[in-house]
């Protein structure tokens, strides 16, 4: 008969679930009131990379950091939804676009002038509502097995050539790529950018979800080239020195060498500005900058910090990268519209 199911065992499992619930809810009820200085950070940068840095800051200053980790874009959407009621003091994003868009809609406040002075031009936003914490350059990743040296394109614009048909991967949904398209609109104009996007699509450029997927696709042999950021390949090589991928840059000044930034800004509604600002200063300090370049493979924003030996030298980076005013990268919406028009989004 059905009723002979052992009630005790099922009940035990159910009570286990209940017990966890009660403990968890009661454990959380009283935990909200915190003593001492603190602030809240929404971080689009991954926990595994920045948590050590944040811990160091907490120990050094005694300021407590409440961090909410998430995707850069999701957090930007969340901030918009929260509006004036947002508990966040700082927003740290993976790319300039997200910060720029928030700044444009008036969500960020002016940072004190002292914070950005002394940074190279490519890392400065004139509006002063956000500041770069590290740089990453756009690069061309490729397969050393399937690409000969004569085939290397001089400019990102050359990738629409027939010889690259179906061999190039990109990620139209990715923030860094979109920032690059915005820069292209600023540099070359709306029409030239639209033509390039359309030509790339017609040349059967392969769309992938993100930069990691692009590098994997090169390894798998699906594509021979990929438009990506400089630090992803390094992580693959760290796990597996035999990984069949390499990367290069375009000729000096090409828009394809754009230096993009991870950046941080303070919310208009911030309630703990003092504590928050001390964190921004901490990130721009020597110590944190050395961490970004040595551990995370990114470019420091200070000229007095030597980039990781696997990266190009600082002067070299400044020489080959196009000078694009970071403030002009705010028009993410225009870029998205263009990507929609060309059916890439």
């Amino acid at each position: 008969m059905r009723f002979t199911i052992k009630p005790v065992s099922a009940m035990r499992l159910m009570s286990a679930l209940l017990l966890i619930s009660v403990v968890s809810v009661s454990g959380h009820a009283g935990g909200r009131a915190e003593q001492g200085p603190q602030f809240t950070l929404y971080s689009g940068r991954g926990e595994s990379l920045v948590a050590p840095l944040i811990e160091e800051f907490e120990q050094e200053t005694g300021i407590r950091v409440n961090v909410r980790y998430g995707g850069t874009a999701e957090l930007a959407v969340l901030l918009q939804e929260e509006g004036d009621r947002s508990p966040a003091d700082l927003f740290w994003g993976q790319d300039a676009g997200a910060l720029g868009a928030l700044s444009l809609s008036g969500f960020l406040q002016q940072l004190p002038a002292g914070i950005t002075s002394g940074l190279p031009e490519i890392y400065r936003a004139d509006g002063g509502t956000w500041v770069a914490t590290s740089g990453r350059s756009r690069v061309l990743a490729y397969s050393p097995e399937r690409v000969s040296s004569q085939e290397m394109p001089a400019s990102v614009l050359d990738l629409t050539n027939e010889r690259y048909a179906g061999r190039v991967g990109w990620s139209p949904t990715n923030g860094s790529f979109q920032a690059f398209v915005t820069a292209m609109r600023v540099e070359l104009g709306e029409d030239a950018t639209r033509d390039w996007l359309t030509a790339m699509r017609n040349n059967n450029a392969q769309a992938y979800r993100n930069n990691t997927a692009l590098i994997e696709a090169i390894g798998a042999g699906e594509i021979d080239f990929a438009l990506t950021n400089n630090y992803y390949l390094g992580r693959f090589l760290a796990n597996d020195p035999d990984f069949p991928g390499a990367q290069t840059t375009f000729e000096a000044g090409d828009i394809g060498n754009l230096v993009n930034v991870a950046s941080i800004g303070m919310l208009r509604t911030a309630r703990n500005s003092e504590a928050a600002l001390s964190f921004v200063r901490f990130l721009l300090d020597r110590n944190a900058q050395e961490y970004f370049t040595n551990e995370v493979n990114e470019y420091p924003v200070r000229e007095d910090v030597e980039p990781n030996p696997t990266l190009a030298r600082f002067e070299e980076l400044l020489e080959i990268s196009p000078i694009v005013d970071l403030d002009l990268l705010e028009d993410l919406e225009g870029t998205l519209q263009l990507l929609q028009e060309t059916d890439l989004l």
Partner: protein, 525 residues
């Protein structure tokens, strides 16, 4: 008279059941309201271009093709397995059942990723056997990945149906001279229809809403487009329109199920106890059966296991045990209450739906199914929107996260409870009433005990799925509340696969443990 109804079917259901059911219904309507609000923000001109984009049509076609494909493939995988574990003389039925449910514990992106990392110049096959096959992608890739981790929903339903099927029916058919094939087609299969529909509706809604697998496989469907809008765009308006279109599709699925199910009365009407059917000998089919099982479990369990192990061996993970334990506990501490709350909502919804059928009780049940198909990001944003406006003290607290989980996964808890209800007779309740018990007492002492299995199964399902959940956790968890799934995402998105592996493995191991416990108790007839 319909045996599923109490004597006075026209009576109103008691308030203590209506209240939670109604509350859950309101909860699922909130996100829809939010989407409509956002959708109305659109400027008319922009709207026309957004809605009439020819691309929407492509997305629509892709979504339908994928849903139908996954349904068919799930049926092909699940039906033989359900039959084998109930009707055949195969050994280790309990273990096979466990393995058939286990894919539920595997996060979708792990499954899709395993399939992808098989092929290609630098995939497993290439490196181990020097055997280069193209990586799965597009329609076929998404189809394979989704099928491999959603077929358990159908398997569970079909298995329950086989268990509840009266062998007398099939025996009568055979005695009337029909072959076993004819009997299967004309007698057994029609009786499996409700199970097919119940499993099918959950799978369809899952496919409509899933984002992980389609994104990895680069197959563009509605859910992918919605995610892309939210994640690259700050354009919540277009995302809202796409979400509403997706919800319309989900609603159609739910309504279609209702229509197809019709007024089928498939419950056993005879008094007395159903006998267990005699086991069918596999005979010469045995080798084919083993081949099928090897392929099925090799793909659905072996592959992800190999990939996770590979990640774990990439570099010895340097994990601080205390930190890891904290992350683990937080995952459990959010998912367990969600399971309980979902159970508490699901019980009255299923009960009212079965014992007091009416337009309202049907609507409530359907709404909870639609809740399952609301894009999680939209659901989370709706919670942000409403809690900040009406109950700011609730914002970014654990209770709100728990509530969001339970509303999102309510449909998973309803299914098993409904099945148990359909199998339990209302006569016991009537007997208790006639012996002078109040309605409440009759419910607590006769109905609840017979539903124990269903409630438990529903709660475990919610628990296991909530452990893997990502977008809702991102937006609604208390600040600083790092869970396993958030930890996995943060690392994989930065290409730190080795660092992600222990967290992903913890999700799989812990969830499997619960699935195992559930089946252990379920198996005790």
């Amino acid at each position: 008279m319909n045996p599923a109804l109490p004597a006075a079917a026209t009576r109103r259901p008691p308030w203590y059941l209506v209240l939670p059911a109604g509350a859950a219904a309101v909860g699922t309507v909130l996100p829809i309201l939010y989407l409509i609000l956002r959708a109305l923000d659109a400027e008319p001109q922009q709207l026309a271009t957004l809605i009439l984009r020819s691309r929407n049509l492509v997305l629509f076609g892709n979504t339908i093709a994928l849903t139908l494909g996954v349904l068919t493939a799930c049926a092909v995988l699940a039906l033989p397995l359900a039959w084998l574990t109930v009707r055949s003389d195969i050994k280790h039925k309990r273990l096979l059942t466990f393995m058939g449910v286990l894919p539920l514990a595997i996060p979708g992106y792990v499954m899709a990723y395993s399939l992808i990392s098989l092929g290609g110049n630098y995939g497993f096959l290439a490196r181990i056997f020097d055997w280069v096959v193209p990586r799965p992608r597009g329609y076929m890739g998404a189809l394979a990945a989704l099928t491999l981790y959603t077929y358990p929903y159908l398997f569970l339903n079909l298995r329950a149906a086989f268990l509840g099927l009266d062998p007398a029916l099939e025996e009568s058919s055979r005695s009337l001279g029909y072959t076993s094939m004819q009997t299967f087609l004309h007698v057994t299969l029609p009786h499996l229809k409700p199970a097919f529909l119940a499993g099918g509706v959950v799978i369809s809604l899952y496919v409509l809403g899933d984002f992980g697998a389609v994104a990895l496989m680069r197959f563009e469907v509605f859910s992918y487009a919605i995610y892309t809008q939210y994640s690259s765009a700050f354009n919540r308006v277009y995302a809202a329109w796409l979400s509403l279109m997706l919800l319309t599709m989900s609603l159609s699925v739910v309504l279609l199920e209702g229509r197809l199910l019709g007024r089928a009365k498939l419950a056993r009407v005879a008094t007395g106890v159903a006998r267990k059917g005699r086991s069918v000998r596999l005979g010469w089919w045995r080798p084919a059966t083993y081949l099928y099982l090897t392929l099925l479990f090799g793909a659905s369990l072996g592959l992800p296991a190999v990939v996770l192990t590979y990640w774990l061996t990439l570099s010895p993970p340097s994990i601080e045990p205390l930190r890891f334990a904290g992350v683990f506990m937080r995952s459990a501490a959010a998912s367990a209450p969600a399971a309980v709350v979902a159970g508490l909502f699901a019980l009255p919804i299923a009960y009212i739906r079965i014992r007091y059928p009416s337009r309202i009780s049907r609507t409530i049940e359907r709404l909870s199914y639609v809740g399952y198909a609301i894009p999680p990001l939209a659901l989370a944003l709706a919670m942000v929107f409403f809690s900040l406006r009406s109950a700011p003290w609730l914002y970014q607290t654990l209770p709100l996260l728990v509530l969001a989980y339970s509303l999102n996964f309510l449909a998973l808890a309803i299914g098993p409870i409904r099945s148990s209800l359909l199998q339990s007779s209302p006569r016991l309740e009537e007997a208790a009433r006639s012996l002078g018990r109040t309605r409440f007492e009759a419910f607590v002492f006769t109905v609840l005990p017979s539903l124990r299995r269903g409630i438990l199964a529903g709660m475990v399902l919610v628990f296991v799925i909530a452990m893997k959940e990502l977008p809702i956790t991102f937006l609604l968890a208390p600040t600083g509340y790092l869970t396993l799934s958030v930890s996995v995402f943060g690392r994989t998105s930065e290409a730190l696969l080795a660092e992600a592996a222990p967290y992903a493995a913890a999700i799989v191991v812990f969830s499997s443990l619960f699935v195992g416990l559930m089946l252990k108790y379920e198996g005790r007839h």
